[in-house]
Symmetry: C2
Subunit: 358 residues, 2 copies
């Protein structure tokens, strides 16, 4: 299932940092027989990554083709700069989530033309080499951020690496990247936090009224605070710029509530237009779909039977979510299918004894 | 799978309004052989609901035990008040999403002691009698909001009706209800809108970096604006009170970004604590779980095979989400299982040829 990259990736690739990302890069490249060398400040991490099959320990005689600095943001500038000096023919990239500050720092260094920044949009709630997986990047965006002096060959090397690990390379400059992640990741994180923070004010059985909408909007607010202090601080200017626009809209909503339905409607419509811009399945615009709800008993095998019956009805499942109901041992499956086939799926499932409805 | 209610529900039940909610109430009660009468301003809606099996057309000789005013918010006060007068022995409830204003209006009417408000936390993107379903309320919260003068027998009647349609009754007074839904529904809706509205500022390929976090936080922003203008306007004071607290936190974040990590961390931690308060599966506090990721080819039958292989491994699926990857014909299933069994599921699936990881 791993994508075939359009160009071979010459090795050796040196991965500096055997955490989740570095180990996963190593594992994914080893699956293509790329020679991968591993370095970490902590020898136990190298041993664990080697044991997983992510590559072999680095030795001084090796001249890397590409260096992947898979180190935390605070260490990235120094590691990239020293790699550019130590291996004067190597291309170098990194994996940090905010790019413009690092790019400015590297632009002032010798060898900057061999550097192109990178940011894989993938992660896990786990960390360290044992959490690494060759599949971590499969189908995920990998931002590649060339600087003004970056050589085409350096950009190609990083794009090819992203393709080899199964990712979808998205090329944009560092400043654009940071504005983009402020919009699609950092500000949504803050908004989720602000929504969830208010739940501390809830009294008695108020939260028993919570539904899927609340769970969806607050899921990412459960993330690690230390990580987000770091990310938000590093991209402070871009995040603040977006949040100030949010504050403007928030003030408009507060003023309009119960007073000015037109103004309130303008903000709501702006939100509707915004959601329609998010790329859907296969990178295309979201398709109109039918949604079928099916009750599923909380027992092993029930979901399997549902999927089997759905498959036999000839309907392809576009998306599927399973949510357990409040207070009872039954789940509700939300099956998304192509527009127009929802009714026939309901009919097929009902005839097989399922409780299904649209 | 429908719950057995603890007490029989005497009929007849008169449902006024044959839209999605009214028709679904009728269908669910008919499944328990409760006598259901139907009224609607539009005769075609009555005919459609009767055709669906939601009940029989109302006739003047019937004296209802319970009247369910399943009409839009703007009509609810008048319909409830006239029902209380017309049938001086009947209990009366409604299904509107904001309760205090209606309660104040009814408190001033004769028969207020026979009224207890209701609010089913269920819906669909569809509307009208043809969208009705006997399963719409299964396992969903149904807020029941007695007034100060409500008779115990009236409260019991509405609670029993909620139980008969498969819902989980949550009893609280109207003012508490409105504060609760401001927190768990109306403010999250506004926050989702404010997040999504900013996406209109995105340039070029910026939104190609969107991930699951953005999709989760903005999903409900795609809802119907007219509906939300109505809901937010009716609960304006409670929503405004919460949004002003949100603005306070937003100002703190804007000030703290890149300046004061302690202050930023305080807000982020407050959000983390808030998410932990949301009831999880079966109404309990959220359990710690393992999450397993599995690649699923975009072909009919693949999900069925995955569920079958998972079932044969003896692991019960707590929750399941399927997301399609950007730019390629493969989906990523997120399988939530009990804490500690993730690794063995990965092993079982890998041995059956799946690409699985945690």
């Amino acid at each position: 299932m791993t994508a075939v990259a359009p160009r071979a990736l010459p090795g050796p690739v040196l991965v500096i940092g055997c955490g989740l990302i570095g180990t996963s890069v190593g594992l994914a490249l080893r699956a293509h027989d790329v020679d991968v060398l591993l370095v970490d400040a902590e020898p136990a991490n190298i041993a664990a990554a080697v044991e997983r099959g992510a590559g072999r320990p680095f030795t001084d005689d090796v001249v890397p083709y590409l260096v992947v600095a898979a180190v935390p943001p605070a260490a990235a500038a120094a590691v990239v700069a020293s790699a550019l000096v130590r291996w004067p023919t190597a291309f170098v990239t990194d994996v940090t989530s905010v790019k413009a500050g690092l790019q400015r720092s590297i632009d002032a260094q010798p060898g900057a033309e061999r550097f192109a920044g990178g940011h894989p949009m993938a992660g896990s709630e786990r960390s360290g080499p044992t959490a690494g997986s060759a599949q971590l990047f499969e189908g995920r965006p990998w931002a590649v951020t060339p600087g003004v002096s970056t050589l085409p060959a350096a950009l190609d090397a990083v794009v090819d690496m992203a393709l080899h690990v199964g990712a979808v390379p998205i090329i944009l400059d560092a400043a654009s990247h940071d504005r983009a992640v402020a919009l699609v990741s950092h500000v949504p994180q803050v908004m989720s936090t602000l929504t969830a923070a208010r739940l501390n004010d809830a009294q008695g059985n108020h939260l028993a009224l919570a539904g899927a909408g609340l769970r969806d909007t607050t899921r990412i607010a459960g993330s690690d605070s230390a990580l987000w202090i770091d990310i938000l601080g590093t991209n402070a200017a871009d995040v603040r710029a977006v949040l100030e626009l949010v504050r403007g809209d928030l003030d408009r909503v507060i003023d309009a509530l119960g007073e000015d339905d037109t103004a309130l409607g303008d903000v709501l419509e702006s939100g509707r237009r915004g959601t329609a811009l998010i790329p859907g399945k296969h990178g295309s615009a979201p398709a109109r779909v039918d949604i079928v709800h099916v009750q599923v008993a909380d027992q092993p095998g029930e979901l399997s039977r549902l999927m089997s019956d759905t498959g036999q009805s000839g309907v392809n499942i576009e998306d599927l979510r399973l949510d357990h109901d409040l207070g009872r041992p039954v789940g509700l499956a939300e099956i998304t299918v192509a527009l127009g086939v929802g009714d026939s799926l309901v009919e097929a499932l009902t005839s097989r004894g399922w409780t299904a409805y649209r």
